[in-house]
């Protein structure tokens, strides 16, 4: 049986994945080598997030959940770093961090190395602290909300919490003015709504992977989350904070790759309809 010759529509429909990935890599690398400088408008959600932290009174304590995994670091890491810059620059705030993700403590160390809190004169144990990875996800949130010291008595290095001035007068959810969660998991982002916002009405800022935004939007609409942002919006936060870094760098690349994605969808559709109208199979 002779091999049937492929039409142009067949070829367009069956572009080898190696070719597609090759084009994708080139589309990634070119704007990194030759930045285009697409504008980065500030969205209302990012502005609301920024304003909320900016309006916190001095002495306010913030509970931060470093709940993302290594895979989500490229997206959520820049956002977490930009927000820490804001907190440290503003000053007078107590940033108490925990992790509901097993990789959270390692990624927190990475973020701190990137931020260098000392440039703002901030000290570990005085202005910020990490109380470690607390297992159990939603159980951990409930336990920490009830009493931090009943849950853990040490920071992530094993030093007693009572030895740190930042922990004076801080023990339960009622002592916090704000909750921030960066996460790659729905258990965390939704768990905090259930265990902290619903139980203690703690204002909640949530940063998730872009793919999780549709799931979390109803919580924002219902007022359970003050501001919901995706890590992909880190560039906007960096602009507001005045610390352009990885988030801004990604803007050109993300725009170009999305244009490529659109082009490929159009090509796929042209091939589909071309084949259909030229008498080929559907």
């Amino acid at each position: 049986m002779g091999k049937e010759s492929k039409t142009i529509w067949d070829r367009l429909e069956d572009i080898p994945r190696e070719v597609l990935y090759g084009i994708l890599i080139i589309t990634f690398i070119m704007p990194m080598l030759f930045p285009i400088g697409f504008p980065v408008p500030i969205s209302p959600e990012v502005q609301r997030w920024y304003n909320f932290i900016d309006n916190l009174p001095a002495g306010s304590a913030i509970m931060i959940d470093f709940g993302y995994s290594g895979g989500g670091e490229p997206e959520l890491g820049p956002m977490a770093v930009a927000v820490y810059h804001h907190i440290f620059r503003k000053g007078g705030l107590k940033a108490i961090t925990m992790s509901t993700s097993i990789e959270g403590t390692l990624l927190w160390d990475k973020a701190m190395a990137e931020i260098n809190p000392a440039q703002y004169g901030r000290q570990y144990g005085v202005d910020y602290i990490h109380i470690g990875y607390i297992t159990g996800t939603e159980t951990a949130m409930a336990a920490v909300g009830k009493s931090i010291r009943a849950t853990t008595t040490t920071d992530y290095h094993g030093a007693s919490l009572d030895s740190f001035p930042i922990m004076n007068g801080i023990d339960n959810a009622g002592d916090f003015s704000l909750l921030i969660c960066y996460t790659t998991g729905g258990d965390q982002s939704e768990g905090w709504v259930r265990q902290w916002y619903t139980t203690y009405q703690t204002p909640y800022l949530c940063a998730v992977l872009a793919m999780m935004v549709p799931t979390m939007l109803p919580y924002q609409k219902a007022g359970q989350i003050v501001s919901l942002v995706s890590g992909a919006q880190a560039g906007q936060m960096e602009l507001l904070v005045g610390k352009p870094a990885r988030g801004i760098k990604s803007a050109d690349v993300i725009t170009m790759t999305h244009i490529l994605c659109l082009v490929l969808v159009v090509v796929g559709n042209i091939a589909y309809f071309g084949k259909k109208f030229s008498g080929g199979k559907k």
Binding site: R17, E18, Y21, F28, I29, M32, G71, G72, E73, P74, E75, G77, I102, E103, G132, Y133, I134, T135, E138, T139, A142, T151, T152, T153, T154, G158, E190, G191, V193, R194, Q195, Y197, T198, T199, L209, A210, M211, M212, V213, P214, P218, K221, A222, G223, Q224, S230, G231, A232, R246, K249, S250, V253, I254, T257, H258, C261
Partner: protein, 239 residues
Amino acid sequence: MADFATVVQIWFAALFTIWIYSIAFRDNLFFKFAEHTFVGAAAGHSLVYGVDNVLRYGWAPFIAGNYLYIIVFILGLLLYTRYHGDYFWVSRFPLAVIVGIGIGLAMRTTVTAEFIAQIQSTAGTKLLGVDAWTAFSNLVFIIITLSVVYYFIFTFPKMHAGGLGIISTIAKYGMMAAFGYSFANTVLSRYNMIFGRFDFIMSTWLPLPYAMIALPVALILLIYSMIPAEKRPWPKTQK
């Protein structure tokens, strides 16, 4: 200049990134090595944290005088009976406690957080007293919400027959739009992840000494390993 340990770390991270992404083109030996190493490292990391958790949240309070923690230890140990052919059923007891606590904690607020609050929010959507665009958006929101709820009433098939079928059709379009939005966001997330790794390679690894030489060597080796075993001169077998 970064210290030696950091430099080694960067080299490993960069090479493993390239090896892992190579699966996009074809399966190969380097991908397999990177994949297995990752699984091993992740398992080791989890094990260390597991032991640390037992020490921090179980053993430390126990030796501090909270002797009731013995119950937690016993329940924890009973989980391992699942590996015993005759006594595996005992492991169901600690599992029941874990599930019970989890459900209890979630349920105490689920009704408020995910049922009442969402219904209140939807019911409070305004059509009057807002600008025209917001009113239109809210109208679309209300129509799609109601039609999707209607779509999932399976008990009475006649509700989807005849002229009423239009409601299900609207629901389908609404859901397709939502899936499209979700897909677009997923693409955004994935691209961000790739960007993060590319940025690491270009900004952190390539500026290091010899990295510019290592990159083409690594790529050539990768391409060679992707050639089917029977078509390459050596080695002729691939495990």
